[in-house]
Each structure stands twice: as structure tokens, then as C-alpha cells.
Amino acid sequence: MGFRDATPSSHRHASDASARTDEARYDVAVIGGGVNGTGTARDLALRGRKVVLFERNDFAFGASGNNSGMIHGGPRYMLKSPQVTEESCRDSGFIQQIAPFLLFRIPFIVPVKDGPRGRMMLELVDAYFKAYDKYQPLKRGEPHTRIDASEMARLEPGIVGPYVGAITFDEWGIDGPRLCILNAVDAEEHGARLYNHTTVESVAPGDDGYLITARDTLTGERVRARAAHVVNATGAWAPVTAALGKLPTTRVLVRPGKGIHVTYDRRVSNYAVLAEAIDGREIFLMPWQNMSMIGTTDDDYYGDLDHVPSTSEEVRYLVQGAARVFPSIREARATGTYVGVRPTLYGFGVMEDALSREHAIIDHAADGAPGMYSMIGGKLASYRQFSQEMADAIAPSVPCTTHEKWLPGGDRTPDALALAETHAITPVAARRIVYRHGSRALRVLARVDRCPREREVVCACEPVLAAEVLHVVEREHARTVGDVARRTRLGMGSCGGMRCAARCGQIVADALGIAPAAGRAQAREFLERQAELRVVAMGPDQARQEALLLAQMRATLGEAEAGTGVDEGES
């Protein structure tokens, strides 16, 4: 019938895997879109270099999006290598200057056990943090304080046990995925080309430089690009990546240290509380954005880095440890876990000095591959410094400006309440948008002025408006429901995406012009991955939520994979 002809058929298929050559010649190809890859791309782009960045999954998919979310000054290193602490604190100060909206203060409390040596321990801890106070001004931190047991009980009533007192000190929290995205976007705005969901498959020497072959994992399309320099910033994947460039994997040894965090439905404490796990390791229970979390574990991991599991044993280890200081955590509702793999610098064959600095650049000229480098190790807190060192090696003639140029949105932080009023959205939504986008919140909200229906609340837990979903699809390279979640925290709340994943899939499919069934498949995939990470922490209330989510999935998305259900699939 005639009216059918009106349906557009702008489907993209994974089968038309045409090879595409990116004609431009790049100065630098960066492989890996974690904080170090995006940070290096930004630094080099600001220095006027022509950069291309390939990310196999999505920006911040790896360690950079799954860490403890702290820009800490590294008090741990103070005894062994005070210069690390000083550097970390200074760089933390720089990050605050370039993205003030993205940081939030996290006060820590260190309870000290009573006992024969309790008083002495308190003195020692006090002295230790007195020394750390020296570095606090570098990152606008407050000096530490020492409190007695009764003060502690007042400040943090959840801490139960025989304590002589406690020390408080100050750190900064940050949203790791946002930090990566902002670096990537700024690189792009300074001329870099970004490819996410595009995995590098080979790096081969060519005439004056290297030929990089990559594949878009969503469309199957191949991309080829030429670059004079190649930076391997693939974190825990780095040895794999080195092999793709025919380099010996032994040259880029990382110790893959898997760490999980358990997340809760709300903030259960005022302070971040340090605790000791059963094996004596230090863990913490920390309020972070609008939730609390316990972190973290550290276990060698040699499995698939693209699909890292967390297990109920790991959850038990953390909850048990935290409960020794904060017993009521057992009654709180755990809403999930997340997991990352640290690209820890390997002990053998690396210079002592490099080891103590936690990160190293390997120049592969020694392996017969001049112009190729691997970045190994590092921290969120020192990514800017590490990226600067990398860029200095490639473009020594141009000075670094990443410590003085704002990240996108950093120029000023708008008043959320005023924005809520002028754009007729809830103050909570406005605050969250300002937190994530800084002054660019104005760009997100300009959308609702143009198109009022973008005021629609897609994710009620966070909350996230349709305007922000569209903004991150159009401006921040989000290509899947999972990508939107990484950028906005959509679907990360206590409903586990039950209320928003399907709708988000529709918006993404519409915005990118892909098939509606592909949007639903993305929603299902997101719900499934979240459930994998969530059920390992399942308690009584969450069990009911799991049953509800499953019933709803069944009733309105179908259990089947895309295309196999009775009425599912595309024409």
C-alpha cells in the first residue's frame, strides 16, 4: 500500500564493511581513549599538532572510567618519595583550575583503634598528616584535624567500635569519565580527529611514519590513517597493543590489577571512612556524587579486558571490611558494582626512579620503531603531568598549556538554581547538568528553549533530561546507550536502567539514524551488563528489584536477542 513508501530506510548495516582511508596525514596517532590517551591528544592538539585518536570501546571504558574517582594527593607516597606527593598535589591543583565544576570535596576520617598502643598510633597518624598539610595548599585542601572519640561519634555516628579518636583530612572527588570526555572534546575542538568504538588492528611502518589500520566495531567499517608518531596509551591492554605493532610484549609489561567498587543507592556517611580489610589492606567507604561506595580490591587479572567480571566474593571482602568500622553498611542497599583494571607499572626491568614515579614512557626507538611510544601506569590525579611528559617527547619545541587552558565548560560555573528557574526544569536536574558540563550547561539547556519536549526526564534516578542525552550524542560522540550512561550516569541509579534504557535507546537510534531495533538491542545489552555487575552485590531489597526488572524486560523488550522474537526485529 502506498503509505508504506513513506517509511525511511536509513539503516546502517554491519555488513557493508567498506574500507575508508582517512586521507589526512597526522603528526600523531594516539591509541586508547582513557585519561592518558585523551590527555595526550589534548596536549598535542593544543600545541598545534594534528592528532588522531582511536578508542576500541568508548572513552573512559577502561580504568579511567572505573576507578575510585579521586584526585588525591597521594599521602601514601609521602615517606618513600615525597616528590610524588608534591607533584600529585600540584597537578590536582591544576586540574581544579581547568575544570573547577568537576571537582567536589571529600573529607576523610581515619578512626584509630583503642588498645595498648592506641594513643601512640593516634600521635603517629597525627604527625603523618601534619606533614601532609604542607602539600594541601597546592590543591586548595584543608589542613587535617585531630578529634576525640566523642567528637567522632557526633560527626559520623555510623562508626562503631573502640576508638581513641580519629584524624580527618581532605581530598577531592572527580567524575573520571567526564574528565576523559572533556579532554577528548577539547582535543577535537583544537583539530583532533576522534574515533571511538574503533579498535586498532595493526600498526605497520610505512613511508615516513606508520600506517594504522582500525575497525569500527559498531559498523564494521575499516579506517586507515597515516601518522608520524604513534602513542600506545591503552592502559592494561598496552602489551596487546604493542604486539599489534609487532613490538615485543615484554617491553611494555604492566601488572593488571583488577579493582572493584560496591555502590549504594544513596550517601550513607558524611565522611569517607578508612577501614581495614580482613587481610590488612586499606579500604574505604566513601560518599561520591549522589551515592556511596566501598573500594577497592586489587587482584591480578589475566582475563578478557573488554568484559571484566566482578564476583560476590570480592563484594563480600569489601562489605565485611567496611562493616568492621561501619556496621550498618550491611543494612544499606547495595545497587551494584563496577570494575576496572589498573595498568600498574611492572617491577622488572624498569628504572627504580620510573617505578617510584608510578608512570613511565617507553620509547620504542630502541626496538627499531622510532616515533612509537608506550605510556604505562599513572593515575587520574597525575594524568595531566604524564600527558605533558609524553607531548614534550613528541613536540618539545612548543610549550605545554594544558595547566592554564580551561577544559570545555571550565571558564565559569553557572548558578544552577537560576538556570532551573529560567529553563523551567527541576533544581536537581540543573545541578547535575552544571556539575557535568560547567558553563556548557548553557548549551545543553539552550536545547530545551528551542525544543521544549527535550525537557523530558529520561532517567529519573540521576536525573537526566532528553536534552542532555541528545547533547552527548551530538557533541560528545556517544553512540550507544552505554556511552550515554558513561557520560551522564543515566541508568546507574537504583532502578538499574529499568525505567530509562529503552527510551534512551530510542533517542540514540533516532539521533543517529540507525534502526529502532538496534536502539533496543543497545538497551538490552546495557541492562544485561549492568545486571551482571549488580547481582553479585544483591541483598534482600535488591532481589525484589531484580525480579521486577526481569518481569519488565520480559513484558516490554522481550527476552530474545534482537531479531529472534516473535514480533521483534526489522523488516
Binding site: 500500500m1 503509505f3 508504506r4 517509511t7 580482613i278 564476583t311 560476590s312 563480600r316 562489605v319 565485611q320 562493616a323 556496621p327 550491611r330 543494612e331 521544549p452 519536549r453 525537557r455 523530558e456 526526564v457 529520561v458 529499568m498 525505567r499 530509562c500 529503552a502 527510551r503 530510542q506 533517542i507 533516532d510 534502526a515 529502532p516 531495533a517 533496543r520 544485561e528 545486571a531 551482571e532 547481582v535 553479585v536 544483591m538 541483598g539 534482600p540 532481589a543 525484589r544 531484580e546 525480579a547 521486577l548 526481569l550 518481569a551 519488565q552 520480559r554 513484558a555 516490554t556 522481550g558 527476552e559 530474545a560 516473535v566 514480533d567 521483534e568 526485529g569 526489522e570 523488516s571
Partner: protein, 394 residues
């Protein structure tokens, strides 16, 4: 004969009315809203992708469906706001059954609200084989259908309640008619799930518009559960079932009869009890892993973690067997019992074991509370009827 039914989901209602039909004196203990109140108006025998859609329904259940405002509609085809079209065996009268329509255009009512994007939904539905095979073509209707601006921020159920008002429904019908006059000819109109909170208003709307009108299913805040609750309360009252709000704790059985104890101390004496308390979702099965209860590093004894919300001597199991004591002090491994690690997860199958519906002396069980029974309306309704009848006969 005196029968007490615990649980006011579809299984409990079915059991209460079936027991009444047998002449028993029936009282029903109403807990909190369960699975039935959260469902979206589709009625199946098995999860819809595994169901045939034309399974037989006995006379009692057919009548009960009608009483509750549901349509017996073999091979019905329903639209969902998640963007799919799906089969069903029967449905809430408010939903539009696409299987009844001739080929042609279906107007989709737009609203600037809670996840309902008419153009996007039309695009989604149009791409599905079920729409193509029937030559149905969905298109957003022009116009504005929210009467007040504050409705943009309201839940579907709240807007649905506004359509309970006849004048408001009239305004809506006029808006639909005006819109239809401006668009190409349609064979039906599909609306957001907001046609009444007390009763389905689809028939009244269809009459005023002159075309079949009905809702699409919407996850999360659908008014269908609210409509079920209203119809349930009406039919229980009409049948002479007394209802008590409360939370049942235990059933004690003596030679002369049974005593049900409620939280707070109240007791109800009776000859038989029907537990229609739902599964994990409804609250009839409680999941309480050892580590959530004990703050000691080591719990005092191993336990699998599942128990009934009412202690009545019902054996908890799955696949016809009692759940075994696990090998770990901390209980069952979450990875092994939940989706997506398991396709038919224990979490969704665990329940009381029974023969016919008898689970312990004088204790009958029904609905999602029964182990391994498909978690669907029809299964709950049929097992409820069986349990009510058996309990009344003693």
C-alpha cells in the same frame, strides 16, 4: 467452611472468589501492592515470546477476567512504549488490540511527557514484521492533547486519573476528533497509557471519536495496575468477601482448624488458608542471604537464603525439590541464581512446593508463590481458582 486468603494480587482474588462460589465464608488479608499491581495489562499463559496466545481459558477465569475489566482476546496484538508490538492472550480493556484492526493508518497521540515520543514510537512500530504483515502504518497525530501545562511533569497514573472525569474525557475526544480531521484517514487511535485510573475509559472514548481507541502498554508508571486494584475491590465487595489490611506472619494448625497471625498480634481463625503471597517480586518469597543479617564475620549456620514471608510449614524449593543447604556459609552464590547469568533464574522460580494446591495441612498455595509456575497472569489466576476451590471443599 471458613477460608482465609492471604495476598490480594490476581491469584488471591481468584482464590477468594472461587472459594465464595463454593459457598465458603471468605476473608482476605491485603498486604502491599505486588506483581499484579505493577503489571501493564497484558495477560499471558507463558512469557509472551514463549506463549501461543490462544491457550484455552476455563469458564471461571473467563468470567473473572470480564469482572476485572479485561478482554478475552486470543492472539491479541498490543503496542508497547518500549517500541515493540507483542502478542497476548487477553488484555486490560483500555489497551488497543491491533489484531482487530483492518489494514490502514493508526494515529498516535503525542504528548510531551515521560518517555512518550509519538514520532519515534511510530517509526519503531512501523519497522516491525507484525505491522508490515497486517499493513498497519503508525503516524503521530497533529495537535496538543495535554490540557494543562503541569501535566508535563505528572506521572501517567495521575493524568489517567484526570481522564476519569467525563468532561475531561470529552475534551480529549474533541481534541482527537479535531486532529483526525486534519490528518489522513485513520483506522484507529493509540494513546499514551492514561485512559482512566478507576476504570478503562477506552470504550467511551472510542464511541465519542467514532474509531477504536486504546492505550499502548507503558513500563514503570502504567495505570493498568491501579485499574486492576479498583476493579478488584469492587468485585470482592460485591461477592461478600471481607478484606483486612495487614501483614500475615504465621499459620498455626490444630486439630480443629487453623489460626493465621498478623503482624501486630491480630489472629484469624479458619478452616483453611490460601497463601497467594507472590514470588520474590510480590514479597511472598523473601531473599535474605546470611551476610545481610549477621554482622559477625561468620554466620552461625549455612542457609540458602530463601524463605516464605508467612511461616506456615510450606517447603521452599524449585524443580520439585526442596532447596538444599548450600556448600557455603554465606548462602547461594548470587551469580548462580539471577539473570543474566541464568536464563530461568532461581530468583524467578523459587517458591512453595505443593501437590495440586495443598502445600501443608490446611494450607493451600497459589499464583507466583508456587515454585516453577510461569510468572504470568493466567497461571496465577488458574492456580488461584484451583486453590480457592480446594480450600473451600476441605
Amino acid at each position: 467452611m471458613k477460608v482465609v486468603v492471604v495476598g490480594s494480587g490476581i491469584a488471591g482474588v481468584s482464590a477468594a472468589l472461587a472459594a465464595r462460589e463454593q459457598g465458603a465464608e471468605v476473608s482476605l488479608v491485603r498486604g502491599a501492592p505486588g506483581a499484579t499491581s505493577l503489571s501493564f495489562g497484558a495477560v499471558d499463559a507463558a512469557p509472551w515470546e514463549r506463549a501461543r496466545g490462544n491457550e484455552p481459558i476455563d469458564a471461571f477465569c473467563t468470567k473473572l477476567l470480564a469482572t476485572l475489566g479485561f478482554r478475552d482476546a486470543p492472539n491479541a496484538l498490543l503496542a508497547a512504549a518500549s517500541g515493540i508490538l507483542r502478542g497476548a492472550r487477553a488484555h486490560d480493556e483500555a489497551l488497543l488490540d491491533l489484531a482487530q484492526l483492518p489494514a490502514g493508518r493508526v494515529g498516535v497521540v503525542p504528548c510531551d511527557q515521560f518517555g512518550w515520543d509519538a514520532a519515534s514510537l511510530a517509526r519503531s512500530w512501523n519497522a516491525l514484521p507484525a505491522a508490515i504483515a497486517r499493513n498497519l502504518f503508525f503516524e503521530a497525530l497533529p495537535g496538543v492533547f495535554c490540557k494543562h501545562t503541569d501535566e508535563h511533569a505528572m506521572s501517567l497514573a495521575e493524568v489517567a486519573a484526570r481522564h476519569d472525569d467525563g468532561a475531561r474525557l470529552g475534551w480529549f475526544a474533541d481534541a482527537v476528533r479535531a486532529s483526525l480531521a486534519r490528518s489522513a484517514p485513520c483506522v484507529a487511535v493509540i494513546t499514551p497509557p492514561w485512559l482512566g485510573a478507576e476504570r478503562a475509559r477506552a470504550a467511551a472514548l472510542s464511541e465519542r471519536v467514532g474509531l477504536p481507541c486504546g492505550e499502548a502498554m507503558a513500563p514503570a508508571a502504567s495505570p493498568s495496575g491501579r485499574r486492576f486494584e479498583a476493579a478488584r475491590d469492587r468485585s470482592l465487595a460485591a461477592a461478600g468477601v471481607t478484606t483486612t489490611a495487614g501483614w500475615a506472619e504465621s499459620v498455626r494448625v490444630a486439630e480443629a482448624g487453623a489460626t493465621l497471625s498478623l503482624e501486630g498480634g491480630a489472629q484469624i481463625a479458619c478452616d483453611a488458608v490460601v497463601l497467594a503471597i507472590g514470588g520474590v517480586l510480590g514479597g511472598g518469597i523473601v531473599y535474605a542471604p546470611a551476610e545481610a543479617i549477621f554482622s559477625d564475620a561468620m554466620p552461625p549456620y549455612p542457609r540458602h537464603g530463601f524463605r516464605a514471608s508467612v511461616s506456615a510449614g510450606v517447603v521452599i524449593g524449585a524443580e520439585g525439590r526442596e532447596l538444599a543447604v548450600p556448600g557455603s556459609m554465606f548462602g547461594l552464590q548470587a551469580e548462580a541464581i539471577a539473570w543474566p547469568f541464568a536464563r530461568d533464574p532461581l530468583l524467578d522460580r523459587v517458591g512453595g512446593l505443593c501437590r495440586d494446591s495443598l502445600a501443608a495441612e490446611r494450607v493451600y498455595i497459589a499464583g507466583d508463590f508456587i515454585a516453577d509456575r510461569p510468572r504470568t497472569w493466567l497461571a496465577a489466576m488458574a492456580s488461584g481458582a484451583r486453590a480457592g476451590k480446594a480450600a473451600a471443599r476441605g
